[in-house]
Subunit: 332 residues, 2 copies
């Protein structure tokens, strides 16, 4: 479990909570929306239009990540990226995060430092101006990262899943299947002979397929495209975390419409593009004829087939990720 730690780093237990926080907090920036940052019982964050968008997510060692594959920096980056995308999917500008981490007392403090660095750099790259305004540190046998992210709708209504109308364009921004391809490579070639995640073999996979491994371990979702979509009049939008087909069905069911994908627009491997989870792209619908903002691609149309997902007019199979059925019990 402590493979990710250097032999030289003191453990969390050796340092104690106060000294650990003294190492972590200087690595984080509170961001422009922080009226009061970490250090009191709670933080105070600006919510200029009298509302805030909020989403929360837990990343757990084993089902959600493996320390044999991910660096601590990548864990922090991904924890930021996935939550920022949920904020973006409402059409909001991300403003701040709070982060609670539970870690084994025997873990090296450098793991927490790496997570903090990844959070900071992920925020800087994907949501400039947003920062970490507060957090919590607990003990657990299982490294667990809880992120709650906030956003500002800047006076606009939120873009819901329920607003798609027949005739709308279906558009997508972000990777289509790369994160799943990266994960499949890691499972196929980044494990030892008993199937356990293996850091040395994963390093080889990373060297041969840097883009696909990075898409899985440190994705760069199109966070800024969320506000662009809202400004362009998007009628519905969501974060594609469970695969394009499965998440498209959520828009279809919430809106009482069907989404018909154009196979040619989905790339060369339509199956992976539709089924692959964890790309954290944005799927949105736009009024017919409206200009679709960069980096969205038009990939289909909204049709009168309530709750249905089609590809070139034919029913598509659903596929996705259930956190309970999809985890085999290994930690790695």
């Amino acid at each position: 479990m402590e493979r990710a730690s250097s032999q030289d780093a003191p453990t969390i237990a050796e340092l104690g909570e106060t000294a650990v926080l003294a190492r972590i907090l200087p690595r984080l920036r509170p961001g422009a929306a922080a009226l009061l940052g970490a250090g009191d019982d709670a933080a105070v964050v600006a919510a200029a239009d009298g509302r805030f968008v909020v989403t929360t997510d837990l990343l757990v060692h084993g089902p959600d990540f493996r320390l044999a594959w991910s660096t601590p920096f990548e864990l922090g980056w991904k924890a930021a990226a996935t939550n920022l995308t949920d904020v973006a999917a409402m059409g909001a500008r991300p403003t701040a995060l709070v982060v609670a981490i539970a870690a084994p007392p025997s873990m090296g403090v450098d793991v927490l430092e790496g997570i903090a660095d990844g959070l900071r750099e992920g925020l800087a790259a994907l949501a400039p101006g947003a920062g970490v305004v507060g957090g919590d540190l607990s003990a657990s046998p299982v490294l667990t990262i809880a992120v709650t992210a906030f956003g500002d709708l800047e006076g606009r209504p939120p873009v819901l899943r329920s607003g798609a109308r027949v005739g709308d364009l279906v558009a997508h921004a972000g990777a289509r299947g790369d994160a799943a391809r990266g994960l499949a490579l890691l499972f196929a070639e980044g494990t030892d002979d008993s199937g356990e995640p293996d850091p040395v073999r994963a390093h080889d996979v990373r060297a041969r397929h840097p883009q696909l491994v990075r898409a899985q371990l440190a994705p760069e979702p199109p966070v800024a495209a969320g506000v662009a979509a809202a400004l362009a009049g998007a009628t519905a939008m969501l974060d594609v975390s469970d695969g394009l087909a499965r998440d498209a069905r959520r828009i279809a069911e919430a809106s009482g419409v069907g989404l018909d994908f154009d196979a040619a627009a989905l790339g060369t491997d339509v199956r992976v593009a539709l089924a692959g989870a964890e790309d954290h792209g944005l799927l949105a619908t736009f009024p017919p004829g409206s200009p679709v903002p960069w980096p969205f691609d038009v990939v289909g149309a909204v049709v009168d087939a309530p709750g249905e997902i089609l590809v070139d007019g034919r029913p598509a199979g659903a596929d996705g990720w259930d956190p309970y059925s999809g985890w085999d019990g290994r930690s790695g």
Copy 2:
């Protein structure tokens, strides 16, 4: 680990994520501040004065609670109570929570239902009008509850730890040592011969000491007293989670003053009142001569002894709770 579950309840894995959420969400209320509740990528919450207070906290099976002692209802209640108190300690009115839970797939869904019921009833009792606006469900070998709580300062400045001035009154609202007494009883008499938490013996402790056990497992902190203190002009305030002496020192250090407690005001067991953790009372300072609002008791005075904690003018020993040094590795 699944002692808290009935034999008849289906497991989380048997039901799958969608069916589990369908059982949990109806047990929760979004509350008056929820402009958009659970069901989309993120929630939207009112922040009437253009700011929001936010605090986050992780509760982990083992270091933070034992399923041999706590019912799921009590876990949910305590998760709400401890976070609401952090919001109250800023002088804010709690408005909403988001809750992320990671649970073993083999756990009975009734554990999650009980946690949801405890969250709902804890909110109803301690912060009427506040609700659960969103959440997340993950898999983990260790039951983990992450709560992020929000509050409304209603136009007032936050009450910080740094505002105490020499001559101010020191006042406290809430229990003084009861939670620690309850925990000590559970460790002394609620464990089996090898020291493991034992549900049958804990039941006996509960029957003999219902108030002290409840103070530990389902505390009723004085949440509403936070706004009352702010309105009464409190100069500093915090949530007493780590013991009165240790938390008082945080005000002393942040404000550059000393806090001198009056032993007679602390009750019959001054040592437990000063050292006992997890009461989640509110410690505040008020300008001299100002009326101290109910249910605060005046328990001392702010003196010119930067960073010092005194009792009847004599230096007090510090004592408290470090999550890494205080956990022996057992789960229970």
